[in-house]
Symmetry: C2
């Protein structure tokens, strides 16, 4: 069972190990030798030893994938996309979770470096990037997904958060809403900044003035989503529609709405983020902006492979993907 070595193959084929190695690595070998080698390989059930190969060639055919949380639907879908591409190329992936903490993120980056991965796909957990900047010095190809940093020039795959949220909020406005609450992420986080940007753009276009009381900041968690909608709904002049800007805060909104016995699309209109069984199942189905998760993964994988093979292009190449908008009766028509 794959216990033979290149040496034995060479012996059986009557050539030197160098020739066998060359054959394996796709260099040209005399037709006759080629045949002999192939026979020997089959007969001996030879398999190249990745460890030895890696030791010598400094390539391990493995990619590290570092995400904030493995339990998150968005994340797992992205991972699926990554694996599709990578497995096809016979690369293996080492998946790590930073558990939403930048210091663990930093540790795991180091762990992956020690594991000698050929490249890393990173979904940053926060807007702290000094460890990432530091890590760049290792010259290990690194591709960011979902979030990018102004000061860090790496390849990246992100969604067009501005346009996505602009379009979503525009649809809300089109249905007659003017008092639209937004449950935003942290001020410093890339996605949050952009989603807020889209919100502002949509308002501006329709000459609705931005009311800061309708803007709630959260850490993107369910519990803060709950708190945020609660605050919004406790206002004297409460919003008629709410835009929750990620999966977890959307969940928080739903919980609040159920707790209070409100009717979605009736008592309150809701636009959420990301796709899930839950959002589709509820009556009425929730309007959402959703991201092409699978595609994010495949693009990131292609990007890291590209960089691994051809070296860094030197400058940052950011791929921007479109989001999709699903509008349902969860947004009431006021006019």
């Amino acid at each position: 069972m794959g216990k033979s070595t290149i040496k034995e193959v060479a012996k059986m084929a009557g050539v030197s190990i160098g020739t066998v190695s060359r054959y394996i690595n796709g260099f040209s070998v005399k037709e006759k030798n080629k045949k002999h080698i192939e026979e020997a390989i089959k007969k001996l059930n030879f398999e190249t030893n990745y460890l030895a190969q890696g030791l010598r060639s400094k390539k391990t055919n493995s990619i590290g994938v570092l995400v904030p949380d493995i339990g998150d639907i968005f994340v797992t879908q992205v991972i699926e996309g990554i694996e599709t591409v990578l497995n096809e190329q016979n690369f293996s992936t080492i998946i790590c979770s930073s558990q939403n903490q930048w210091n663990i993120e930093s540790e795991k980056l180091d762990f992956l470096r020690k594991k000698k991965v050929d490249g890393i796909i990173l979904m940053p957990t926060s807007s702290i990037y000094k460890h990432i900047k530091e890590f760049e010095k290792n010259n290990i190809p690194l591709v960011l997904i979902d979030r990018i940093f102004d000061r860090v020039s790496l390849n990246a795959v992100v969604c067009d958060n501005v346009t996505g949220s602009y379009e979503g909020v525009s649809e809300i406005i089109k249905r007659g809403h003017t008092k639209i609450g937004i449950i935003n992420g942290p001020k410093t986080v890339y996605t949050a900044k952009n989603r807020f940007e889209g919100y502002k753009m949509a308002l501006k276009e329709e000459s609705i003035k931005l009311d800061n009381d309708y803007v709630k900041y959260t850490d993107y968690t369910e519990i803060e989503g709950y708190r945020a909608i609660k605050e919004l709904m406790s206002m004297k002049e409460k919003p008629t529609a709410i835009f929750a800007t990620n999966y977890k805060t959307t969940l928080g909104c739903l919980r609040y709405i159920y707790d209070e016995g409100l009717k979605i699309g009736e008592d309150i209109s809701l636009l959420g983020y990301d796709q899930s069984d839950l959002f589709k199942m509820i009556k009425p189905q929730i309007s959402v902006i959703y991201q092409p998760t699978q595609l994010i993964g495949t693009e990131a994988a292609k990007s890291i492979l590209e960089e691994t093979n051809n070296g860094s292009s030197g400058k940052s190449n950011v791929k921007i993907l479109d989001t999709k908008l699903v509008i349902t009766e969860s947004i009431k028509k006021l006019k």
Copy 2:
């Protein structure tokens, strides 16, 4: 940045590489040398090269995790448990998906073997086990989770499916139901067999005769769950309660129930399987049997590490974990 070798450390510390190696691997070294080595390591920023270490010692400090589907909540929670334990021990995990196909499962097992993982945690995708039996010959430690096979003697971590479903169905009966439909998995699948067993036990105990018309077999997918409940609800003497035996079929039931505009706990009582945002969020919250996913993971990881370190005990050691039952108003009280 970790580019120095044991050789340089030895030189700087004024000892031989053998001594440094011994120090690294925790063998006794003269106190004075120890100090010198430690200094050198720190100064040179030395890190052992896993590849070289693995090549020589035949240990890679990595564990393969092969699951049917990375997008599944149950699976990701188990994986989280696994990682917790493994990372702590400085092991890395290579996570693979068999995409619910036994032949891919077989391929991935081989892939992991080639990657020289020290052990594999496998959540089998089907009841086909011939490739697994074949794989045992490689003498790579293998721990099964979720499902086991009668003919394969491996360590395993599973839930007590019989008792879990027995208790759940008993609670349904206690509430006055006698016409209880079950949406079962494939006849040959371990979990399905056992969950059905528990169902039968509960009926028998209360002298309710088993009516085969109330028993529907599925492949555990949402679509078949939908079909199954539809068939059940189309019966002349339809069940008053339904037990869906996994997450996906429970989802299928919910979709049907919503499509038909039925009221859970009123028009039909429902007991589902596994935990999810959805089941908790719906009104009324769905009654479920849920499995200690995190624990399954940690136990499996401990088991594989144990076997990796101490070698196979020779005989199969199956750890059986308890499930938890959550009963809500989704099950109507008929008496």
